[in-house]
Symmetry: C2
Subunit: 291 residues, 2 copies
């Protein structure tokens, strides 16, 4: 039975009981609108932990004023059903007023890593993410937390935060889940028309093409960046590349030359929807990358 907890104090009690029973706790933080990507995280948690907690919280802190906080897809009932189908033990769905009580004034920031890419496009976004994830980690006290690789920068920011704040949490990054056509799953894909979707496919195809080039021996960062941009070019004027880069998987520093693992990181804007995708790549023969 999946238990739905709305009260942070009740959540704290549930965790305390689990800890007293020496159960390991896996945690999947989400904003709801759950899809197969989230469900893959729940399954990973279920496999590796005695108890799994999924949080559903549309965090106002990580939306800029003009963004889609109000219209972000919300359907708690359906989300709870998804969690139940994945044998999740607890769905934690607190009210904003409880996570952000009057006088709330604490923020967590991860400098450097938050600056470029999504950070440049969405000022304050990662401070909002780091702040709420820190609070959720303090509340849920998971042994392991499961994040999707689709939001690669977010995973890197959270992993750094966990290390710097000495949090006793292992951050596990799980592979991107895609629709059969290749588009990475995202709660915001519901905003796409069929035609937008076709445009959006330029993104995973560009990443694939660049990956093939890397495997074929191409190591020049600038050339790969140009290849990504060219491959995403559209005749539609509202289809634009927000960024397309080849970066170090831990520091997110733009690479001049690939000589180990690198991340092809890109965002394609289709109309009002920003599609994110990435691929971890390496020259042929490089040992596997541990996310």
């Amino acid at each position: 039975m999946t238990r739905v907890v709305r009260d942070p104090d009740e959540m704290r009690d549930v965790v305390a009981t689990a800890k007293r029973n020496r159960f390991s706790v896996g945690f999947v933080p989400t904003m709801g609108a759950l899809h197969e990507g989230h469900r893959s995280l729940m399954r990973a948690s279920w496999r590796e932990n005695d108890r799994t907690v999924v949080s559903i919280y549309v965090n106002p802190l990580q939306f800029a004023p003009q963004e889609d906080f109000e219209r972000y897809p919300r359907n708690l009932e359906r989300d709870v059903e998804s969690c139940a189908a994945e044998k999740v033990d607890v769905v934690f769905a607190p009210a904003v007023a409880r996570m952000r009580p009057p006088g709330h004034s604490t923020s967590v920031a991860v400098a450097g890593l938050s600056h470029d890419f999504e950070g440049a496009q969405r000022p304050g976004h990662f401070d909002g993410v780091a702040t709420i994830v820190a609070a959720l980690f303090c509340l849920v006290q998971p042994d392991r937390a499961y994040l999707g690789q689709k939001d690669f920068q977010q995973a890197v920011v959270i992993r750094r935060m966990v290390r710097d704040l000495q949090m006793p949490v292992r951050v596990v990054v799980c592979p991107i889940v895609r629709d059969p056509d290749g588009l990475a799953l995202s709660s915001r894909n519901v905003y796409l028309s069929a035609e937008d979707r076709t445009e959006g496919l330029r993104l995973p195809r560009a990443l694939e093409k660049a990956e093939r080039a890397v495997l074929g021996g191409e190591a020049d960062g600038d050339l790969l960046r140009t290849m990504l941009r060219d491959a995403m070019r559209s005749s539609r004027r509202d289809v634009t590349v927000d960024y397309a880069d080849v970066v170090h998987p831990e520091t997110l520093v733009s690479l001049g030359k690939i000589d180990g693992h690198a991340v092809l990181l890109a965002c394609l804007r289709v109309g009002a929807v920003r599609l994110l995708d990435n691929r971890v790549v390496a020259p042929a023969g490089t040992p596997a990358w541990e996310a």
Copy 2:
């Protein structure tokens, strides 16, 4: 036997063992140079918890570049003796390189509360405090943390951080410990000459005088602020009032009129030494204040 732990990973193991045994953990974060004030915190922790951890860490983040980080008094051996005398279970004295590894880029900030008083005199100070205390709380996972009321603003900032980040820690604020002459104990008092000390006594005496006025019915904030400043005036030109205010005990907002608990908060600068002191006051007949 007091155990000295230098390695954060070892500290984590020690805590995990205590938790597995369902021991409650009390925690006293310090920068060392321990005096009777710190020892009163250790005793409070000892009374209320199964295990007591004292951290000794001179946190570079909370010193401004021109401040006394380099010459801040350090004597680990003597500090460990003090802890042993107070039956402390673990002294955690990590190296800076372990608490702040290469690439460290996470900071915790408590807006508003950090802005005035010490925050205005020491830009970035409370970000440094909040960041290290958050990390120590994540590492030590105390049930209760003990702070001295002498650093009143610090206690308010930390309490707010704990609430906002949903940390499962009770912050206990313990009374100021004073030398027989009335000066609040501080590790920095060693910097004072005998003559400086005489000047410094203007501070607790001014607070006493203002408290008597409040008990006598004086409720006007401006009048009390003036009274504090006047009472601290010195003929020595290097004795100056950094601030002297009457504030709300939780928001630190300057009060126009006292109609409940208030804090007389002041800092007197004597030469290069900044002396901090405060008193929680209330009109006669107000119920006791719970720190």
